[in-house]
C-alpha cells in the first residue's frame, strides 16, 4: 500500500473545511431570515403562539373574540410555534376560512361555544347545517319532481347529507344530492350550473358573487375586505351580525335560472341605484324593502335556520309587513323587557346600535323572536335603528290610520298594491 501524499490530504482538508464553513454560514443566514417571534399566550388555551409575528396588523375579528383571550390557533388551527409561513399554515382548518362547514365544528369550538342545544343558546352550528341556506333542498326537490326523478315533493336530497333527530317538521334526514347519479341530463346540468349559492358552495366568479363559505358567507361581509398587505392578502378578518344587504345580494340578487336550458343566467347589469337596479326588475317593493337591510326585518331563525329541516323557503319565512305595522284591528306584538338574560339584550350587545334597557318595549314576531332594534315610543309610535346602517326611523302602526286593508289579507303583495314605490323601470 502506497502512503498517501501529504498534499492530497491537505487539499481534501481544505475542501472539507470550506464546505463546513459554507454550511454554517447558510444555517446562520437562514436563522437570521426568521423574524423575531411575537409571542401571545391566550387565556383560553394557555399555550404560546407566534402567529402575531406576521399577522399583528390584522384587526380584532370581533369584540366577542379578543385575541388576548382566544389567540388565533383555537379557531384557525395551524402550527402555533412555526415561524416559516408554509409550515405555520400547513394545518390550518378550512384554509383561510375556518368557518367553512366542513370544519366549523372544530373551528368554532364545538360544544364549548357554538354547538349545543337551543336551551343553552349554543346551537348555532346545528341551525346553520339544517337551514335551507345549507341544504338547498327546496330547489333540489322541486327540480327533481318537475323532471320526474321523484314522485312527489317530499324532500329527499340536500346539498349536504344531514340528519335531524328531533325533527318537528317530519323531515328527519336528507341525502347528499349527487347530480352524477341522475339519469336525466337536465338534472345533471342543474347540479353543475345551479348549485352555487348554498352556504358551502364556492361562489361564482366575479365581484357580484364575492363571498366566503360557511358562517363567513354572511358574517364576514366582503365589503370589509382589508387593504392588500403581505400578511393579509386582502382578506376579511371580521365577524359581525351587522350584515349589509349587499352581502345577501351575493346570493339573492344575482340573476335567474333558465329552466329550459337548466342554466343560471347572470345579471349583466351593474347595480348602481338601489331602487332601480338592485332587485329583480319586475318586482314591486315598498320603501322598507329598498331602504332597510334584509336583517332589519328578517329574523335570525329565518336567515340562519331554527334547527329543523324545512322543505322550502315558504315554509319557514314568516315575517310580513304586519309583523311590525300590525293590522287594522291589531297592534304589532310587543314585549316589555324585564329579564336581564332576555335574548333581546344579548343580540343588542352583539350589535350595539340601540341602547336597550329593562322596561323597554320592543316588537316581537308571532313566533316570539325579538325584533330588538324596534322599540316603542311613549306616543305609541315605534323607533327603529338599522342594524347595518344605524339609520334611525320612526313609524306608526296601521291601527287608527286610513288603511282599509282586509286584516285577513296580509301578504306583502296586498300592501304593495297601495304602497309600492314607483320605480323608474330602467329595465324592460
Amino acid at each position: 500500500m502506497q502512503p498517501e501524499r501529504p498534499d492530497s490530504f491537505d487539499l481534501r482538508l481544505l475542501i472539507a473545511s470550506g464546505l463546513l464553513l459554507l454550511a454554517i454560514v447558510l444555517v446562520w443566514w437562514q436563522v437570521e431570515r426568521v423574524p423575531e417571534p411575537i409571542a401571545l399566550t391566550p387565556t383560553l388555551t394557555g399555550q404560546t403562539e407566534y402567529c402575531l409575528t406576521c399577522h399583528a396588523d390584522l384587526p380584532e375579528i370581533s369584540p366577542s373574540h379578543p385575541v388576548e383571550t382566544f389567540g388565533c390557533i383555537i379557531c384557525h388551527g395551524g402550527e402555533r410555534l412555526a415561524l416559516e409561513a408554509d409550515l405555520a399554515h400547513s394545518t390550518l382548518r378550512g384554509g383561510a376560512n375556518p368557518s367553512d362547514l366542513t370544519v366549523v365544528e372544530q373551528s368554532c369550538c364545538g360544544g364549548d361555544c357554538h354547538s349545543g342545544t337551543s336551551a343553552q343558546g349554543r346551537d348555532h352550528i346545528q341551525r346553520v347545517l339544517t337551514s335551507l341556506q345549507s341544504t338547498y333542498t327546496g330547489a333540489i326537490t322541486s327540480v327533481r319532481y318537475t323532471f320526474g326523478a321523484q314522485p312527489d315533493l317530499t324532500p329527499r336530497f340536500g346539498a349536504l347529507s344531514i340528519t335531524d333527530t328531533e325533527s318537528k317538521t317530519g323531515i328527519s334526514a336528507l341525502t347528499a344530492f349527487d347530480p352524477a347519479a341522475e339519469t336525466n341530463p337536465l338534472l345533471q346540468k342543474f347540479g353543475q350550473s345551479c348549485l352555487t349559492c348554498h352556504l358551502n358552495a364556492a361562489p361564482r366568479q366575479g365581484a357580484a358573487y364575492d363571498r366566503f363559505t360557511g358562517c363567513s358567507a354572511c358574517h364576514s361581509p366582503t365589503s370589509l375586505r382589508l387593504p392588500q398587505s403581505s400578511a393579509n392578502l386582502g382578506r376579511v378578518h371580521r365577524l359581525t351580525t351587522a350584515i349589509p344587504y349587499t352581502q345577501c345580494n351575493t346570493c339573492h340578487n344575482r340573476g335567474n335560472y333558465d329552466l329550459r336550458l337548466m342554466d343560471f343566467i347572470e345579471r349583466a347589469d351593474q347595480p348602481v341605484k338601489r331602487l332601480d337596479d338592485y332587485y329583480q326588475p319586475l318586482a314591486e317593493f315598498v320603501q322598507c324593502e329598498y331602504t332597510l337591510d334584509c336583517i332589519d326585518c328578517h329574523t335570525r331563525s329565518e336567515a340562519m335556520g331554527d334547527g329543523d329541516l324545512h322543505p322550502d323557503q315558504a315554509s319557514f319565512q314568516y315575517v310580513q309587513c304586519k309583523t311590525c305595522h300590525g293590522t287594522l284591528n291589531e297592534l304589532p306584538l310587543t314585549k316589555t323587557l324585564t329579564d336581564p338574560n332576555d335574548l333581546a339584550f344579548k343580540l343588542a350587545r352583539l350589535n350595539p346600535v340601540i341602547d336597550l334597557k329593562p322596561g323597554d318595549t320592543i316588537i316581537i314576531t308571532e313566533q316570539g323572536e325579538p325584533l330588538w332594534n324596534i322599540r316603542q315610543l311613549p306616543d305609541g309610535r315605534f323607533e327603529m335603528v338599522g342594524k347595518a346602517t344605524r339609520q334611525y326611523f320612526t313609524f306608526r302602526p296601521v291601527l287608527g290610520t286610513a288603511c282599509q286593508q282586509n286584516p285577513a289579507e296580509q301578504e306583502s303583495r296586498y300592501c304593495h298594491q297601495c304602497h309600492a314605490v314607483e320605480r323608474n323601470h330602467a329595465h324592460p
Partner: protein, 137 residues
Amino acid sequence: MPTHNRRNFLKLAAASPLSASGILTLGGLLRYLSHPAHPTPSTEFNLGPAENHPPGSRTVVAEGSALLIHDENGFRALSLVCTHLGCTGEATGDGLLCPCHGSCFDADGQTHNDPATKPLHGLRVEINAKGRVALYA
C-alpha cells in the same frame, strides 16, 4: 514552488475556514444561551400608599386585570377576568361588564346575568408595614 511552501499554504488555507466555522458555531451557541426567556408575568402589584385609595374608591389595576375596592369592610380585590371565557371585564358603576359576551357581575363579583355562571375570583390584598397596598393576582 517548493513542496513545503505549498503544503504550508494548504494547511493555512484549511485552518482558516475551520477557525471561522468554530467562531461562528461558538457565536451561535452563545447567542442561543444568552437569548432572553419570555419574562414571567408579575403576580404582585404595589399600589402605593393606602391613603391613595380612600374609602369608597374602586381602582382598576389594568396590568393585573384586577379591581381594588375600598369599602366599609376594608380593602378587597376582584379579578376582572370573566369566569365565562377569560376575557377582561370592564368596571361599570359598582358592577362589572364583560365586553365579550355581555356577562354582568355585581359589586361583590356575583353573576348578574349569563353567560357567566360563576362569580369573579377574589384576590389577596395586604397592607404592609409601611402602609402600602399590595395586590396579589
